[in-house]
């Protein structure tokens, strides 16, 4: 059984296990500092985000790049303009000059990666990554990077609320409304509803296939959610800082197209003119999970049909809790859970009334989570793997933000010309389908391992890329005092420090001995050549089987 009682003390190894899973890792010094605190209060603060001073991060976010979140995308033009001041280069992640602002997936990916690397409130980014995999939405159909980032921000802002509230919020999110055709779901009159979202919201987002519902429930839920769409106004557009007449939609306001007017009437319907009053919502009652629901009621301040979405959790709570428990366990704890472990976590979810903050505080403090068999029991996903290595090997924010050019990874080039996220198997913000990515061993095949070796080389060996006549290091990782606070006195000391930084699972002594004897066959001197070898040793650690586990 999963012992969910909280630990009362922790080791540095425990702290690092926690920080890898609940964030993107801690340096040895930071882990030691955290270990001095009692685990209960430290983990609460980590989850609540109250232990950090985010001033430097927020400053960097605002000033480092013109490509701040609302400004990422443009693929439409419309009348009017919004005055957005341009911010001078150098950019946080070397966005493409004048093209940076267009509807660009790689730029949006770069921004997410930069935030994961730099945000001191790492848990917020970790939860957003988790929810993005669960509520997987793809840019290739939404066709708007700003709306994708708008959804990602929803995961940051509401990712620790109640699951039923999050499920409703996601169901109303503009990117999701487009992604699974809610905006085209018309059940007015005798129209046949589009059941795309109704099926996937139960199969992929809340219950799992065949878990408590049938095809009739799908068609009934589709009817309840018909007409769910959004409106927008001029203020919802954002403009290209260098060309304010270029506009793109960055957000929208949820609206059920039930024939009623919208106000103010200057807002636009999605897919129509402001003067049109669309009627797409079904009327009357439905039978969902063997209960009758009025899909025209707005009781409780809910939208028409919202009662149907909420009944997934309120009626099928046990099924939903099992589903959510599997996803939380597989991402945060282990894929090797027992049936009893699953039941225990599902019971926790139900007893916590689907409150994610309460659930995560118990789960991530539990003896079960910290059990030594769960350390390094998961294959790390590629985005997490790259970000965590960058946190360990690249200059920290305080240093990077004062350097000229700034010492940030060229995330825009990492994501684009180096194809990192595509080929390591997690095209962030653009999964192939609404089922997202299978985790653990499914991250690994010959191609993803090939690209992990390429990224490891970029991280450690100073690989560069040219863009517009300028050559940039993909990752500005140098053998500095961040890598080695004191000059190592032996090859073994180099190895020990790199292992402490990169935190692979146990590497067999025979393998590390073979590496060290190949690198330093004779005497050891800490000179420039040895520093190059240290880079190569970091490369080997990152590529090793143990280096894929976390």
């Amino acid at each position: 059984m999963a012992v969910l009682n909280a630990i009362s003390s922790w080791s540095v190894a425990d702290v690092q296990h926690f920080a890898r899973r609940a964030g993107f890792g801690l340096t040895p010094a930071d882990a030691t500092a955290l270990q001095a605190q009692a685990p209960g209060t430290a983990i609460d603060a980590w989850i609540d985000g109250t232990a950090y001073d985010a001033t430097a991060f927020n400053t960097a976010l605002l000033t480092a790049d013109v490509v701040t979140e609302p400004l990422v995308s443009a693929n439409t033009s419309a009348a009017g303009s919004v005055d957005v001041p341009a911010v001078a280069a150098p950019h946080a992640f070397l966005a493409e000059g004048t093209n940076a602002w267009r509807n660009n997936l790689n730029t949006a990916q770069a921004l997410c990666a930069w935030r994961m690397q730099q945000n001191p409130y790492a848990f917020q980014e970790r939860m957003a990554l988790f929810w993005h995999n669960l509520f997987a939405t793809g840019w290739h159909k939404v066709s708007n990077a700003a709306l994708m980032l708008n959804q990602f921000q929803l995961f940051r802002s509401q990712g620790l609320g109640k699951f039923d509230d999050l499920l409703v919020a996601v169901s109303k999110d503009p990117a999701m409304l487009i992604w699974l055709d809610s905006v085209l779901n018309n059940a007015s009159g005798t129209n046949v509803p589009n059941e795309n979202y109704a099926r996937e919201v139960m199969e992929l987002y809340s219950l799992g296939a065949d878990n408590g519902y049938n095809q009739t429930d799908i068609t009934q839920l589709a009817r309840a959610l018909s007409g769910w769409s959004f409106t927008f106004a001029e203020a919802d557009y954002i403009a290209n800082p260098t060309n304010p007449t270029q506009l793109t939609l960055a957000t929208g306001r949820f609206k059920v197209y039930d024939g009623s007017a919208i106000a103010p009437d200057t807002r636009l319907w999605w897919g129509g003119a402001a003067t049109t009053s669309y009627s797409m919502h079904g009327t009357g009652t439905i039978s969902l999970f063997a209960r009758t629901l009025d899909i025209t009621t707005t009781a409780n301040g809910w939208a028409k049909g919202e009662n149907a979405v909420r009944s997934i959790v309120s009626v099928l709570g046990a099924n939903c809790a099992q589903f959510l428990a599997k996803r939380l366990l597989t991402h945060f704890v282990t894929s090797g859970y027992s049936a009893q472990d699953l039941n225990d976590v599902a019971a926790l979810i139900q007893s916590s009334a689907f409150d994610l903050r309460a659930i995560m505080k118990i789960l991530l403090k539990s003896q079960y989570f910290f059990d030594p068999t769960n350390h390094y029991s998961l294959v790390e996903g590629p985005v997490s793997w790259v970000v965590r290595a960058a946190r360990m090997l690249c200059p920290p924010l305080a240093t990077a933000s004062t350097q000229s050019p700034r010492g940030y990874p060229a995330w825009r080039l990492v994501t684009n010309s180096a194809n990192t996220f595509d080929q390591t198997g997690m095209r962030l913000l653009d999964p192939n389908g609404p089922n997202g990515w299978k985790e653990h061993t499914a991250w690994l095949n010959s191609n993803t391992m090939r690209y992990r070796t390429k990224v490891a080389a970029a991280l450690t060996l100073g690989e560069t890329r040219s863009y517009s006549g300028t050559t940039y290091p993909l990752f500005p990782a140098a053998v500095t005092t961040d890598w080695f606070p004191a000059a190592p006195a032996s090859a073994q000391a180099v190895y020990d420090r790199l292992v402490a930084l990169l935190q692979p699972a146990a590497i067999p002594a025979s393998v590390s001995a073979a590496w060290l004897s190949a690198l330093w066959p004779s005497t050891f001197t800490w000179d420039a050549a040895a520093q190059t070898k240290a880079r190569e040793l970091a490369f080997l650690i990152l590529c090793s089987p143990a280096g894929q586990l976390y």
């Binding site: 085209l184 296939a209 095949n445 391992m449 070796t453 060996l461 699972a505 073979a514 070898k533 894929q548």
Partner: protein, 445 residues
């Protein structure tokens, strides 16, 4: 049709094997009168056959690819496809009340040559309409343990345990369950260049070389670790390392370059365009060009896997579906033609290759507003010179749909696998064990 279906199921239930059904209607022995070709007799199955799998990803609306053009199904089709239904005038006739959509570029020509075996109504018992359940079942091909796929088990059985690294390839960056074996999996290669361990970054330094890195992976495989993540990482790394060691990957890890005289979808001058006049996507043709390049370069691959997505046409089907058909059909026709120009050590590539296309399900007969929702029975087809062209499934009876308004399948998808394993991949003695039981063979090989 009902009798025929019952007959197949009886055979399956009683374990009768090797029941070779012959084609009914259409192709087979006569030209269809479209596409301007003349039916050519099939060639014998080659000594060194190659299989190219095309995954039609998303569940394709094949009912609009081979729509009814006569008979009892036609009226039902027209009623339930009031806006999306295909006009009979645009169809070429396959016989048996079945038409072929004119947007399925090139397929009418291949059909007229007698090179296409259509398996209409292919599916599985108890479908649940889920993409992902269906993809898993199509991949596994049987209720097998450990989530292995039918081609992965073929690799377990037929490939050398320590060699044959490049015998099973996918040109997708992922590894579908279909290609996962218990002891080995297919290799994924997505480009013709730079397929090399990144030692090139280490020029000028003394160590480590590739072998040093390989030590980490190789020793992990010989050690006693049973941690699934550790072993999976070591296997994947070792597969990559061994694959890129093949001499076909020359300096910088590049295959010999190849220029083709055949136009593919996505090429600027390819004559067929999207409905709006813009160029078709190269999403599939780029994979096919890579496959042709690998065959020409002499890679010892026997099975390739490729994929064209976008078929989940819940909406906007009137635009998306014709464009997808043009891309799929045009790419297949281009590959077929291109292969004729490749000479390999084991003969002309067109003689050696059979293309097998499949999708996880068909779509609902009743359209919604602008699209179609998930359905059941599907359409697979095989293209090749050794294929005996014609219709090999059984067209579902549109007046006898299931409780959800979906078509009832007529041919078990594992009969297709059994046919291919037995008669194309040379697994006469192992086919039934690879699939867990005996499925009747189809007569197109």
């Amino acid at each position: 049709m009902t009798t025929r279906r019952a007959f197949i199921q009886t055979l399956g239930a009683t374990g009768a094997a090797l029941a070779g059904f012959t084609a009914c209607g259409g192709g087979g022995g006569k030209a269809s009168g479209s596409g301007g070709g003349t039916t050519q007799p099939p060639i014998p199955v080659p000594a060194s056959p190659i299989l190219v799998i095309v995954n039609i990803d998303g569940g394709w609306d094949w009912l609009n690819v081979l729509p009814p053009n006569a008979g009892a199904n036609l009226g039902i089709y027209q009623a339930k496809r009031a806006t999306l239904g295909i006009d009979g005038a645009s169809l070429s006739d396959l016989g048996n009340g079945i038409g072929l959509n004119g947007d399925f570029t090139g397929m009418d020509q291949l059909h007229a040559l007698g090179r296409v075996a259509w398996i209409e109504g292919i599916g599985m018992p108890n479908p649940n309409l889920s993409h992902f359940t269906s993809i898993d079942l199509w991949g596994q091909g049987a209720a097998m343990p450990a989530g292995t796929g039918w081609l992965g088990r073929f690799a377990d059985s037929a490939f050398s345990p320590t060699g044959d690294v490049l015998r099973g390839l996918t040109v997708t960056s992922d590894l579908p369950v279909m290609l996962k074996g218990a002891s080995r999996s297919f290799v994924s290669i997505t480009g013709a260049g730079g397929y090399v361990y990144p030692a090139y970054l280490l020029s000028g330094s003394t160590v480590p070389d590739g072998a040093t890195l390989e030590t980490g992976w190789g020793s992990a495989l010989t050690a006693t670790s049973t941690d699934p993540g550790y072993v999976a990482a070591a296997q994947a790394g070792k597969l990559f390392f061994d694959a890129q060691n093949n001499a076909a990957f020359g300096a910088g890890g590049s295959l010999a370059t190849r220029t083709t005289t055949v136009l593919y979808p996505g090429d600027a001058t390819y004559p067929v365009k999207r409905l709006d006049g813009s160029s078709l996507t190269s999403a599939l043709s780029s994979q096919f060009k890579l496959i042709a390049q690998m065959i020409a370069a002499g890679l010892p691959a026997q099975v390739f896997f490729s994929r064209l997505g976008g078929w989940d046409t819940h909406s906007n089907q009137a635009v998306d579906h014709p464009n997808l058909q043009r891309t799929l059909g045009g790419s297949i026709k281009a590959l077929y033609d291109d292969l004729a120009t490749i000479t390999t050590a084991s003969g002309n590539a067109q003689d050696r290759v059979m293309i097998l296309a499949y999708s996880e399900f068909g779509r609902r007969v009743q359209e919604n507003n602008g699209g179609t929702d998930h359905g059941t029975a599907g359409l697979s087809f095989c293209v090749g010179k050794a294929v005996k062209g014609g219709l090999y499934g059984g067209y579902p009876d549109l007046s006898n749909l299931d409780a959800n308004g979906n078509m009832k399948f007529t041919t078990d998808f594992r009969s297709l696998y059994a046919t291919v394993l037995d008669r194309w991949l040379g697994q006469a003695t192992t086919t039934d064990s690879l699939l867990g039981t005996t499925y009747p063979r189809l007569g197109f090989l």
